[in-house]
Symmetry: C2
Subunit: 412 residues, 2 copies
Amino acid sequence: MNPFFVPLVGQVTEGGMAQAEAVEKALSSHLFEIFILVLATQVVGWIFQKIKQPVVIGELLAGVIVGPALLGWVVEGSLLEFIAELGAIFLLFMVGLETRMHDILKVGKEAFIVAVVGAILPFFGGYYFGLYIGFNQVASLFLGAALVATSVGITARVMQELEVLSRPYSRIILGAAVIDDIEGLIVLAIVSGIATTGAVETAGIVRLVLISFAFVGAAMALVPFVRRIPLERLPFQSPLGVAIAFGMGMATLASFIGLAPIVGAFMAGMVMAELREEYELEPPIHAIESFLAPIFFAYMGVQLDLAALTSREVLIAGVVISLIAIAGKLVSMFGALSQGLRQALVVGVGMVPRGEVGLIVASIGLSAGAVDEKEFAIVIFMVVVTTIIAPLSLRPLIAWADPEVPLTEETA
Amino acid sequence: MNPFFVPLVGQVTEGGMAQAEAVEKALSSHLFEIFILVLATQVVGWIFQKIKQPVVIGELLAGVIVGPALLGWVVEGSLLEFIAELGAIFLLFMVGLETRMHDILKVGKEAFIVAVVGAILPFFGGYYFGLYIGFNQVASLFLGAALVATSVGITARVMQELEVLSRPYSRIILGAAVIDDIEGLIVLAIVSGIATTGAVETAGIVRLVLISFAFVGAAMALVPFVRRIPLERLPFQSPLGVAIAFGMGMATLASFIGLAPIVGAFMAGMVMAELREEYELEPPIHAIESFLAPIFFAYMGVQLDLAALTSREVLIAGVVISLIAIAGKLVSMFGALSQGLRQALVVGVGMVPRGEVGLIVASIGLSAGAVDEKEFAIVIFMVVVTTIIAPLSLRPLIAWADPEVPLTEETA
């Protein structure tokens, strides 16, 4: 069935083509949803530009407004989720494109410490707090796991808005986020293993660790060779075509080996960064990103169920677990103290958002029966708080820590 | 459920999270499909560049190769269909952006004659041929209806590749295609009405005609005002944001009133054409189009079921109906004789492809029970032939009819 030609058959005839109509209707309504998300992110984003607040929060809020929590014009669904995923992929591809590998390697030690400390503290904090408030052991493990991995998308967008992606603190955050994602993956694998088998399967975990490091290492090893490749002589329609195919391919490969697709997209972007000036790859990739990435942020808003957050019990536990989530990442800033206290604080705050990574951990726990609805709502609360608080505080914080970035700077 | 973090849980644990996994798996496989479509269209498109053939045919062929007909790596599905639809929307938005309304109006009379003749002849040709080979009356009506509307996407892409979108013959094709789509819609509404109620409901058809003309008229009436709008002062993040929101909004509106979304996108592009230079809208829209439009063409190839076309009966009827489809549009070229015989021939051939419009008519007939599998396969055959033959012949034809376009021109 094909939507390019959507007749008013429903008004002219009386049934007989119910199936065709149902498909047409669903497709038109997805078109409507994309339109609403584009429109809402543009308008609310503009308001946030005017009041000098992070546009990404405006886009998230736009999703809350048009989503089930308020207007109900846009609902959760696998199609929108995929478009949102493409948005996240192009966002991280673009961030990678603006990142030079040797700049990340320069801060490799700092990034590693930040990532490790920022994973261990929140995990055990969450685990013991879960036990303390009466979660069973498996649910407590999931709670801890949901606190591990940073959702770098939101922080990356704020850094992009402020044009500070090339600063050392930004590089530490990006490097730590890549390591973080691998850690989060391993923790989730272990916790899932315990939840379903009651034991840890060492072989699976070792394989996972090896594959992850091999993937990131292989991508980094590509960089010196890429510089010498004349893109226009490859069997592709255009250099932009090479870039898009490579980005999508690395995202797919990452998901096949069990990593987040956005990690693959980021690594692909970092590889292509070596060629971005020669082939003017940034403007077209930025154009695609500027269409799709706001849909990603808005979709995170669409997924927020405000109603589930109104129970007093959930609220109190949510506040405490949010504090643990924030504190755990803030302490990890000591790994970045070489950059001075202020910029180390930027790193700590930049690692706070859990976003979609926390959501997926909680969802897996929920569908495995390891986490109940109430425990799920607590994780959602934490995700909302950490995802909103980081960009709100990052902007003034960066202005304070980095004198070259005025707070009142106009962003486009 | 969220795909940003796809763990190897399947390898570490044993079930318990079947649902979550199923969703993850579907989403990763869609990512794989998009990657394969990007890669295949890039590589096959490059081959077609090298052998000086229309890239769009290469992209269509890429879809056939990776689709169920051959490799089976990409299959039909509502998600890919929607991405393909977005591709068609951005393609026609881009084509609209390169079209000035007063240029279309200059050739309005020619476009109207081409559209009307090119709808009447194929419709009655298809209807009577259907009766002749033993289709019942309703199936014959559907056969006729499937022959009415041109699929302008393929022709538009060839004209874009050759950079002849501003020539009078291109404008006649674009103008006629908009009228054509409205005609096709009305014919389908009438035929569907007869199929299900056995009678024509006049009120519904009149309303449909009025709404269609009001939509196109309203969009055209916007043009003189648009020139005076300072986009940067609208409550949108950026002028590009205004353009994308307007394009998606018009596509959605078109689908709501029963027109094809691509008609809305084309009208939106034509309105924004008045501002495209001032705000440099073309490069970013072109970037988005260059990611999504090849997916549209490849998806048309994915949908082609080569196996259904092997019956001798279907082949013979398919060849005859294809000849009727081609002849009907070729005769309509007399409406464009003011441009000389050669360029009128370009118009006739440019109107030949039926593409997705023919497919949707056949699908509606099939799901309404008015058309059987064999009759459906005949329409598919016609769609394949008309969709492939037009761009293959258009390229040398334009080179012959328009001396400013050398046949060997390199396209990007």
